[in-house]
């Protein structure tokens, strides 16, 4: 077995994830390398979900009975865990959504309906980047179309980094919001937050960071980032699907208008008008994903018990190893940074002329699960002149042996279509 410095005790960790023992296609061992799409869930999270439904299930923030109070305490307890996990100054800055897409749409809609000084209108500009996931492109396109605002973006360098050479021309006095990804889901690039935030603050623009591929993999400190909003999702960090987070600075959440209206987000309602509850409840209309929030809380406990700094070191060691091993495969071209420097554990590549669909299918026949396609980041594929990529992405339970299996699998793919 390959020993690398910084690796976690994956043998012990993998025992927490029952699904990793699965066999597929007539007895082949599952090699799960699609963690950037969604992570697997440890027993601790699965137990928290079933325990919630078996013992505590009730609607939250209403009713005076025991179950309602316990369910509320668990749901709000999950908010405390998230706040600690991201070093939020206040728990009231943590809004639960259903996923990162909803979090980003929420920001776009807050700004679209806001009064001055936040209002996005036809005289203002929105800035994103060419490496965004569609969830951080389309909400801003919609906002631009509806308000007449101009949408601008940073391009990419040939080696998969943001091209910030025109930073001062892209972010100007007209910019109201700069929204960008912290770690790219397709390129793996870790972006230089500080330079962008500094320029945005110079011109008085708000900053929104999509941390969907960061929160699961590295320590995340919203205060250190210096952003105004940070969005991420639970299911990529060992939590269940159906739960996402938007963190926002308290004064903004107080000033900005609600988006979805309904139960739970109000203070008083008459037939003529309503007043709203304070944040975060102002932004959580309707019955929230309660069990899912509890599950996310359990996932955070699990990740904390291992340590985000240790998970980061583990994935960095794996990424270094994977970049080296993949470099040995003939005709393989990594799309994105070609070293492990400032790079996350998602690696996209092309393999000669073999279409990624075919690569993925033949790998699947060997039990190896990867993602193929444009990864909801089609502009990146257009930028690099490729129809799609194959992506392998690792997590805390991934092993060097699985990278070896991938490399062997790719050799088989080459022979098959060669």
């Amino acid at each position: 077995m390959t020993e690398l410095p910084g690796l976690l005790d994956t043998e012990a960790i993998r025992k927490d994830f029952p699904i990793l023992d699965r066999q597929v296609h007539d007895g082949r061992k599952l090699v799960y390398l699609d963690n950037a799409a969604t992570s697997q869930k440890p027993r601790q999270v699965l137990d928290a979900l079933s325990e919630y439904y078996e013992r505590y299930n009730a609607n939250v923030h209403r009713g005076v009975h025991v179950l309602a109070e316990e369910a509320t305490a668990l749901y709000e307890g999950a908010r405390d865990k998230v706040a600690d996990f991201i070093n939020a100054p206040s728990r009231d800055e943590v809004i639960f959504t259903k996923n990162a897409s909803e979090s980003l749409n929420l920001v776009a809609n807050m700004l679209g309906w806001a009064d001055e000084p936040y209002r996005v209108d036809h005289e203002t500009e929105i800035v994103i980047t060419e490496m965004e996931h569609h969830s951080n492109i389309v909400p801003w396109q919609l906002l631009a179309q509806r308000t007449g605002a101009k949408l601008k973006w940073f391009g990419l360098t040939d080696d998969g980094r943001l091209d910030l050479s025109n930073l001062d021309e892209i972010i100007t006095e007209k910019t109201k919001i700069v929204s960008f990804v912290l770690v790219s889901n397709i390129l793996g690039t870790v972006n230089p937050v500080e330079a962008i935030v500094r320029r945005a603050q110079e011109v008085g623009a708000l900053v929104c960071v999509d941390a969907s591929q960061a929160a699961p993999h590295m320590p995340l400190d919203v205060q250190a980032l210096g952003a105004d909003f940070v969005a991420f999702t639970g299911h990529k960090m060992c939590g269940p699907t159906g739960i996402g987070v938007l963190w926002g600075r308290q004064e903004l959440l107080e000033d900005l208008p609600p988006f979805l209206g309904g139960g739970e987000m109000i203070e008083t309602v008459s037939m003529h008008s309503s007043t709203y509850a304070p944040a975060p409840h102002k932004f959580e209309a309707g019955t929230p994903p309660i069990a899912q929030a509890v599950g996310l809380g359990a996932a955070i406990d699990y990740l904390d018990s291992i340590g985000m700094d240790k998970i980061l070191a583990h994935e960095h060691a794996l990424t270094e190893y994977a970049v080296k091993r993949l470099g040995e495969v003939p005709d393989l071209r990594i799309i994105g940074p070609s070293t492990a420097e400032d790079r996350g554990a998602a690696i996209s590549f092309t393999l000669g002329d073999i279409h990624p669909h075919d690569v993925g299918q033949v790998l699947d026949e060997q039990g190896i699960a990867v993602r193929v396609g444009h990864h909801c980041a089609r502009p990146v594929c257009l930028r690099y002149g490729i129809p799609a990529t194959t992506r392998a992405s690792f997590y805390l339970y991934s092993t060097p042996g699985e990278i070896d299996a991938l490399v062997e699998g790719l050799e088989h793919v080459r022979n098959f279509f060669g």
């Binding site: 279409h355 990624p356 669909h357 075919d358 299918q361 396609g373 129809p387 799609a388 098959f416 279509f417």
Partner: protein, 152 residues
Amino acid sequence: MYQEVILDHYKNPHGRGLRDGDAEVHHVNPTCGDEITLRVRYDGTTIADVSYEGQGCSISQASASVLNELLVGKDLPEAQKIQETFLELMQSKGRIEPDDAMEEVLEDAVAFAGVSKYPARVKCALLSWMAWKDATAQALGEAGADAERKTA
């Protein structure tokens, strides 16, 4: 799934490249980025040519090649019968084991039977066939629609 016939068509495609046509369509598979530009040329209701250019996986490319081989030279009602039979096979979720009658209609295209077990790949196999149907409707207008009604 990767039958020898499919790999052969993928490596040595029939009729690839764009030539003159009566109508041109561009179809994409948004889930994976497969694309095809396809032209049809009719001589009355006989298919004089189906030409195409595209990018995509072996399944989508081989399927376009098989389509060209099967449909060029056929009269529209017969071509529509082949298209409908292929559609039926591809939507069968692996439940149809092609019999002799089906094999007679589909020829090389029966090799795609295995693909129907993979929902993610069915669209790849159907891409060129849907493009052909669309292009035919555009090229023949009412005449195409009439022929379609007769075979329905």
